[in-house]
Symmetry: C2
Subunit: 203 residues, 2 copies
Amino acid sequence: MAGYNVPSLERLIEQFERLPGIGHKSAERLAYYMLSLPETETQKFADTVVEAKKKIHFCKVCCNFTDKDICPVCADKERDRSIIIVVKEPKDVIAIERTKEFNVTYHVLHGLISPMNGISPANLHIKELLARLNNDEVKEVIMATGPTVEGDATGMYLNKLIRPLGIKVTRLGLGLPVGADLQYADEVTIARSIKNRCSYDGG
Amino acid sequence: MAGYNVPSLERLIEQFERLPGIGHKSAERLAYYMLSLPETETQKFADTVVEAKKKIHFCKVCCNFTDKDICPVCADKERDRSIIIVVKEPKDVIAIERTKEFNVTYHVLHGLISPMNGISPANLHIKELLARLNNDEVKEVIMATGPTVEGDATGMYLNKLIRPLGIKVTRLGLGLPVGADLQYADEVTIARSIKNRCSYDGG
């Protein structure tokens, strides 16, 4: 007996092992947990997975996840459609919405350009973004793709595409996070925060 | 918009969040991954979960997982039925089988006594173990429940129950792991290894 000798258990562990960030030990733990649940609960788990996959798709406008044709943000008539914030993934939209300060629209790329991982612009929802710029409504596109190598590369790539259309392209400001202790900030962030210094009236 | 505003997505994240060792961020990541798979793949994942739960149950003899009435180890006529090794969970059986040195039988408790976590002897598969001792076949029960507080407590509890039946009860030896560096071993292990010292002929 090399392993469990129970094909359906081995298949279950295998399925969990395919999930991102789940190694063999964790997959075993999850499989055991599943077996410890009552049958109604495992059925519910399975049904939820199938139902979510069936119902959820991309918003036709911003490519965020939705179970409708157009997501609530894009359908909201009160939103300022002159500004689009471009983000990597749906979670980023939630993070920005949480600030409750910006009544704008979004565009979700579902990834960042990353040649190392074989992700090229064609793999992202870029053509849907460009389609939204084909009218005079949009005045500014804010790149919120993050200050990482891939986030910067994606932002710069989009900047090159969008700027010629006469639309302003900006990126999120860099500096110290609010509440940060100078001692623990890295040199690059400190340098950026000095270059990006501003007066106390926010100017 | 406080969250995703997509009920089926929120339910999916919730289901993953219920799994052990999966926090909210990981649950989101897993849910996204599921949505990124083709529908046939998510269906397969769901089917595997349901099928495993339906097919897998406890071996009638040793309580290990099996899809048959009696697991391959218990069904194996070549096994020495005079020795039962008692373990916490199915993984432990695999670990011992991997040594390929012991042609014995096992008993899986599916947990350890842990009053802190509300796990009492009644929650473990102890009565199935006692039922196996109701004949003259079994000569020795080896506690491989692990040298932890809970493992020791469970072993001692079973020792008290089984010894009066005239059956030898032993526990795994304590000492330095093979290949261990003395510098990195803890004091308790070093002390046990000195007390448990043996001659070079293994005596």
